[in-house]
Symmetry: C2
Subunit: 380 residues, 2 copies
């Protein structure tokens, strides 16, 4: 069999206009450019904006990998990736207020669309698939949710947009917010994929306070805070009945669902034993569909777990088929610390985990590496 | 092959002396007994001690299942359980200050020991195994950690004590606290199993605030807060190098590790990419053993995940063998809401998950149901 097509569905960019906007800010999220004393610093996490740390050491160095699409294409070549579905990196437009939200979303989405068109137009005709597609971004801070829904409808007509990326706070009140109903409706109607991604992590107190968090660098916020944030967000969405009211929503969860596949059984058990839900004769509805049904019908998972245990749970939670799992890299995050490394450890670890988990079934490997993305996102 | 021996390693009690102490208190944890207007209420979670809720509806009803060992034995008979390793339920002695900590620990441990001796002495001689063993409890609030270590050594000589149960806060500062080194040393020396169990969950803010938490009853704190708490606690313990300094510690993690098996890959990847660890040329040591080695050497997991996805990840994280997974029920928690049910749904769900995960290998099923507990805890 020929080499499988490889599609990266978890790969981020900051278009130049977004970078310029971050440079003009001086609170999170922002870019500090010390000019002569080193590379610019990207400070997107509140925990990184620590006044005990000199400004030119805060956050992480930001280089052209974040905004120069040529660097993304080189990264793809180096790792054998045929096609990338790029998405704005966190924190997206979460911090943009109502006056400018729609304008910024249109600007970013049109920029993503034209980047895809330009790159695909210039690519060699021997390619098996277009090089780039994109997940758009939404003006969640807009006054009216209908403005958000309008942008969903608008971008669904753009040739290279295949979904939208969204954070876990939605319009600021979580994903069980009634102010998101029009957005869920628009996503269901257009069948755009919703790529749900963390950014805020957990409050420092969850880890034992800021001193404990700092002690271990970024490990607690990134290794635990991010996936736990995703798990909480999707669980609230599920508990509030979103999947009962919008049974055809399609959601791609970052980092294989945070921890949702592992905890689905416990969530279901706690619901069955919860007196306040009317399914148990209680006072509020509770979800009407069981979580396994939602996992098999509405939810897709990226394969970004860096190990076989996560991948096997992800597949098992979806009913045992590899048809809902999609390869991703999280580029440009987690670059190698040793710059002499040719391929990125963060990427090869995920490649190896896919091979170790499903290697006995080459069709399953090909599905996870690219076939599922091609089918689900209609990539050509 | 004959029916496999079934051992429940996750099953809690409140000895009568502990119940009496809770009755005498009026802040969390406490028991409120309304005498004429219904059964006593057990209020152990801060979130349950809500002044908006009438006192006689707060928390959960507490009946004899919590303290009467006859009820435990009936539950065992009804569910085919041959042997239970009972442990004090949360919040253990976490709230007992230094003056009384050691005295209470001795009282509880001696009580557990005599309950086991009494029940086993009265049991039919046809039983294949003793009916009861116990995990002891520790006086973690004692002034000196050596007093805690002394109690570890003392109970290691009691005939029916096979380990200790501990919460995630240790001596109040988490499990990466240097004030626990003597305790880890004593546990390693005695080879008593440490059963690590959650109680505190996550701060309400992690879920979006108290109003959101209340909206869904106990689901968010119990389904997500508990396992995420366990994951954070064991990860801090690992990051601080406890398993480097005490390479023979044996830890049984409640609820299959919270979410540790699922997140182990991401934790390992974040460590490999974390600049502050000396393994990467940084400023602090970081763990010297990789997390997979710890999962295969030091960590055991209960099989309390209510689904096959959790169980398969638990086994995969431990290297693919079912030798580290142990059946449990969480009795007396999660009783059926419909009192007419004969067997408890929370128990049958776990039985079914074990059978569905490993049913093609009857030796593996037998190991998980009881064989592993017999071997690892030296049950006779």
């Amino acid at each position: 069999m020929s080499d499988p097509l490889i599609v990266d569905i978890h790969t981020h960019v900051y278009p130049p206009a977004y970078i310029d906007m971050l440079r003009a800010r001086n609170k999170v999220p922002y870019i500090h450019d010390p000019s002569d004393s080193g590379p610019p610093r990207l400070i997107i996490l509140s925990s990184d904006d620590d006044s005990n740390i000199p400004l030119d050491q805060r956050g992480r160095p930001v280089d052209s990998s974040y905004s120069d699409i040529k660097v993304k294409l080189d990264f793809m070549d180096k790792h054998g990736i045929d096609c990338s579905v790029i998405s704005l990196a966190n924190p997206w437009l979460d911090f943009i207020g109502e006056e400018q939200a729609s304008e910024w979303a249109q600007k970013i989405n049109d920029d993503l669309e034209s980047t895809c068109a330009q790159v695909n137009g210039a690519a060699a005709s021997s390619n098996k698939i277009s090089r780039l597609f994109a997940f758009g971004t939404l003006p969640l801070g807009a006054t009216e949710q209908v403005a958000v829904a309008d942008e969903v409808h608008r971008i669904s007509t753009l040739p290279h947009i295949r979904g939208v990326i969204m954070g876990t706070t939605g319009r600021g009140h979580g994903l069980d917010d009634p102010e998101l109903e029009a957005v869920w409706g628009a996503l269901q109607d257009t069948q755009l994929m919703l790529f749900l991604h963390p950014h805020y992590g957990l409050p420092d107190e969850a880890f034992g306070g800021p001193e404990i968090v700092r002690r271990y660098g970024h490990v607690l916020p990134l290794a635990l805070g991010f996936p736990l944030e995703t798990t909480i967000a999707i669980t609230r969405m599920y508990l509030s009945g979103v999947f009962d009211r919008f049974p055809k929503l399609r959601i791609l969860l970052a980092h294989s669902g945070g921890t949702l596949p592992f905890l689905a059984g416990r969530i279901e058990s706690c619901i069955v034993h919860e007196r306040i839900f009317t399914v148990n004769g209680g006072s509020i509805p509770g979800p009407q569909r069981d979580i396994w049904d939602v996992l098999k019908t509405n939810i897709y998972l990226d394969a970004v777990t860096y190990g076989t245990a996560g991948l096997k749970a992800a597949v098992e939670a979806g009913g045992g088929s590899t048809d809902r799992l999609l390869f991703g890299t999280d580029h440009p995050f987690f670059p190698p610390l040793n710059e002499e490394e040719d391929q990125w450890t963060s990427v090869t670890t995920n490649y190896k985990a896919i091979s170790a988990s499903f290697g006995e079934d080459q069709d399953a490997v090909a599905a996870v590496l690219g076939g599922n993305a091609v089918r689900l996102l209609n990539l050509k």
